[in-house]
Symmetry: C2
């Protein structure tokens, strides 16, 4: 098997070859030229519609443990599970920080669980694009659901929220005032609120607060104690309920459309960025007003629009 051949690589992904899946996603993440050919092939295939679940929340809320438990739950139902873990990382060193997430070790030897870390890197705006492609590759490799888990609460997390069919916000007591920020902002984007570490001091007070929020905004609330596996079945049932409701109301279709649009916009800006960047470098050191420099840059881009158009078409062949 020659995994350097796009068609063979894709066939191996479909055959659920773990090495092939890993390699395919790496190509996409690295923005390698070979990724173009691979994705062109993938996008000609009929992909199964899989459910994507976003898991977000502040550091320390227990997202990883909860994700592990959800994986276990779906595995118990005989389902093959994909996990895309979004890690912040240095624009200098690049690469996902935690490798393929040592914390998923519990399922490391289970061939029916595909775990993949993606770095947010310096490439702002490219995350929707590459995570979207990773989800499609996992779907093609038979995973359903695909869980998108994040580290921390930041812009990357908000992007992920826009990408998933359903979003789960994990909270825990005692995380300081970041949680205040999160409550106000992320609650609106979450379909299911989870108060994890439900045995810890302050959990009940937090759950009562969140129950009110959940009522006001018509969200589901679940309590879990992920380290002991308690509340996981109820959470999974909550996800089913939320998904059914979203599907009936047409919200799911709207969300998938928005997610698709966000991804297209990201790809477009991503394709634009290197051209702008090299135009910028060609012009020597930037002096004075950055906005004027930006306008000059776009004007130069427009003048070279024919080249741009050629460049884009060339890539598509």
């Amino acid at each position: 098997m020659n995994l350097h051949q796009p068609a063979e690589l894709l066939a191996a992904v479909r055959a659920r070859n773990p090495r092939a899946i890993g390699r395919a996603i790496s190509l996409v993440e690295d923005g390698a030229p070979a990724a173009e050919a691979l994705l062109d092939l993938l996008d000609r295939e009929a992909l199964p519609a899989v459910v994507t679940v976003g898991i977000t929340g502040p550091g320390g809320a227990g997202k990883s443990t909860l994700t592990q438990q959800l994986i276990g739950h779906y595995r118990g139902l005989g389902r093959r599970v994909g996990v895309v873990a979004i890690d912040p990382s240095s624009p200098i060193s690049g690469g996902a920080l935690l490798g393929d997430r040592i914390r998923m070790m519990r399922h490391a030897t289970d061939g029916e669980v595909v775990v993949r870390s993606m770095a947010t890197r310096g490439r702002i705006g490219g995350l929707c694009a590459s995570a979207g492609a990773a989800v499609r590759l996992m779907a093609y490799a038979g995973c359903d659901p695909v869980i998108i888990e994040t580290v921390g609460v930041g812009q990357a997390e908000i992007d992920v929220v826009r990408l998933a069919d359903l979003t789960l916000l994990v909270m825990a007591p005692g995380l300081g005032d970041d949680i205040q920020a999160m409550k106000a902002g992320l609650v609106e984007l979450a379909d299911v609120l989870v108060v994890n570490k439900c045995d810890n001091p302050g959990a009940e007070a937090l759950a009562m607060d969140m129950e009110q929020v959940a009522r006001e905004r018509d969200r589901l609330l679940r309590r879990t104690c992920a380290t002991e596996g308690r509340g996981i079945a109820e959470l999974a049932e909550g996800l089913e309920t939320a998904l059914a409701k979203s599907s009936e109301s047409g919200e799911l279709a709207r969300r998938r459309q928005r997610s698709r649009e966000a991804e297209v916009l990201d790809w477009a800006l991503e394709m634009m960025r290197p051209r702008l960047s090299s135009l910028l470098r060609d012009n020597g050191p930037v002096r004075g007003d950055p906005r004027l420099a930006a306008r000059n840059l776009l004007e130069r881009l427009c003048r070279s629009a024919a080249d741009l158009s050629n460049g884009i078409s060339k890539e598509s062949t």
Copy 2:
């Protein structure tokens, strides 16, 4: 005084009128059309070169308290201090979550401290652009240094790191394994490592770990106990040392150039995004391959490059 008049607003910013400063930054943050005129005026002015200090680190490390203490330190030296606080926020509700940061209350009545929250919003890529403009407005209003503080560790934080002259990474014991991620990734971007909460259990072990990291990568390490104000003078001295070193080696100039380039690129993509977005909407629901859709979008953009060029020139007048 008519703060709706760009020239008068800018004059009031220069005269250090707090309401004017707040309004000017709001215009920029909202991407209001009036911001264009204001920034055009600002960018014709000779701005003082001020020092910018980025403060980053995981939630719970005590960034806010440390920032307060640093403000106090610089106020003690008679310096006027600006703070741009970067908050994650919902792309739906928009707006900075913590208002102008209740946590900065200690200095709330001090007219020589200008505090401003900025939301990362849904506008990925726009943060460098608008935070850069906010920093210039604060510099114009006499602030030096300008501190850029973040909530959490994510893409927004990495952007901030690229923007600042110096970056300070705040850590504390007992924050779980997010700190592992942070060590690996953000340490490379930080000039000064701070182990805060230095009285807490585990602080010494963390400090020893970080000392090794600091030695390996030629970084400064400082221990602080921000709630009690201990170690702050030593930290400020560390910042001076790092700045002098960076200035001598030419790294400071390189970093400012890179920061300027990142800002220009952000402005350019920011100017591009609404056009791409409206082109995308004009075309009805997106079906099929997102990358093909993105290429089609860029091709359409190129065909309408003349319009784009006109649009950009119109904005600049």
